[in-house]
């Protein structure tokens, strides 16, 4: 019997120690010096109250269009009673009608002093289009603190004319489709101009053939020595074939086929050219040219 008593007592003691240790380690926030003020659009102070934390403001705060709601408070650490700057501080307006939540981010200074303002002139659209009662809550949290704070400040009565604004703007939906317009093609000159210039550029060929005929390309030796004239003809023919190959390369061949043909034709051109030119050299040295 004594043994079971000791067991019960020791189990309870253990639990008590555990709880107090948890409680001792708990970091908590404490809000102090809460003051709210409402000013109308004509800068007339409608409401100025000071609320003792942790109780809430009992009367609903009325806001019509043009009013300015301000709240100041100080965030303290419970243990040290000194001002702290939490990581997150929001003021949420929760609609009692449809549960919509509208957050307002609060900037807290390093000493814990903070000020939040809700100006009906620049309020978010969701607030302005749905009047009614909103529950006002202050939410404070920091990553290293285990227990965040949710403090019910009071109730806001938003009194704005109901706007049937049609379908509410979808904030996170698909945006309108973007139709990409490609850069328009470059403008080309008129086709008659291009054709006429093509003709103009080919005129020098006519001049060349005429001038060569006038000066007298001498083909007299071709008749006299048939076999070397054959070499000359073959040489010039292979050169012409190479030019035709280049034209085909421009139109439909690819580079590998072109290079294949080119190696073959250039070998032919080289051999015939060497023979033909050595013949010409022989004639020149013999004084026939």
């Amino acid at each position: 019997m004594i043994r079971s008593l000791i067991n019960i007592i020791s189990w309870r003691a253990f639990l008590l120690v555990l709880l107090t240790s948890v409680l001792v380690q708990a970091d908590d926030f404490v809000i102090s010096d809460v003051k709210i003020a409402v000013t109308t659009s004509e800068s007339v102070r409608k409401l100025y109250e000071s609320i003792p934390y942790p109780s809430s403001f009992d009367k609903p705060i009325q806001l019509t269009s043009g009013d300015d709601f301000k709240m100041i408070f100080v965030v303290n650490d419970k243990q040290t009673q000194k001002g702290v700057q939490p990581h997150q501080a929001f003021l949420t307006l929760t609609s009692e009608k449809n549960g919509n939540q509208i957050p307002i981010i609060i900037r807290v200074r390093e000493n814990g002093k903070s000020k939040v303002e809700l100006d009906m002139k620049s309020a978010p659209d969701e607030l302005l289009s749905s009047p009614g009662n909103y529950s006002l809550d202050l939410i404070i949290g920091t990553f290293s603190y285990n227990d965040p704070l949710k403090y019910h400040v009071g109730t806001l009565e938003i009194d704005v004319p109901i706007q049937s604004s049609g379908p509410s703007p979808v904030v996170y939906g698909p945006k309108p489709e973007i139709h990409h317009i490609f850069r328009p093609d470059e403008k080309l000159p008129p086709i008659w101009l291009s054709y006429s210039f093509m003709a103009i550029v080919l005129i020098p060929w006519v001049f060349l053939i005429g001038a060569w005929a006038y000066i007298g390309v001498n083909v007299s030796l071709l008749a006299r020595a048939p076999e070397s004239s054959l070499m000359s003809i073959l040489f010039l023919g292979s050169l012409l074939a190479i030019e035709i190959l280049f034209y085909n390369y421009w139109t439909h061949l690819n580079i590998f086929q072109t290079l294949t043909w080119l190696t073959g034709l250039s070998i032919v051109a080289f051999i015939t050219g060497q023979k033909a030119l050595s013949d010409v050299q022989k004639w020149r040295s013999l004084g026939l040219r």
Partner: protein, 113 residues
Amino acid sequence: MSDKVSSAIQKLWTSYSKNTPQSLQLIDTYLVFILFSGVFQFVHCVLVGTFPYNAFLAGFISTVGSFVLAANLRIQTNPDNAGEFKSISPERAFAEFVFCNIVLHFFVVNFIG
């Protein structure tokens, strides 16, 4: 004043056609032909802009390159200059001219696109 210039030109022309060997005259006409080809292409580019820029460049550079090669050939085959080019016979100069032209045409056809 102007007739002095015209008589000078007349004299130049007669002297040229009498004293220049036929092969050099042929090359000279080829040079004039290439020159006018290039000039007409450039005029067309100035008129309508450089839209297919690579095509204009290919054509123009082909005329410039051909002109340079032909001028080179003329220099090398001129009998008056034979003293400077002992190792290169006119036939060899012509063969080099042909080879360089083929290479130039190949690159031009590549670039025309």
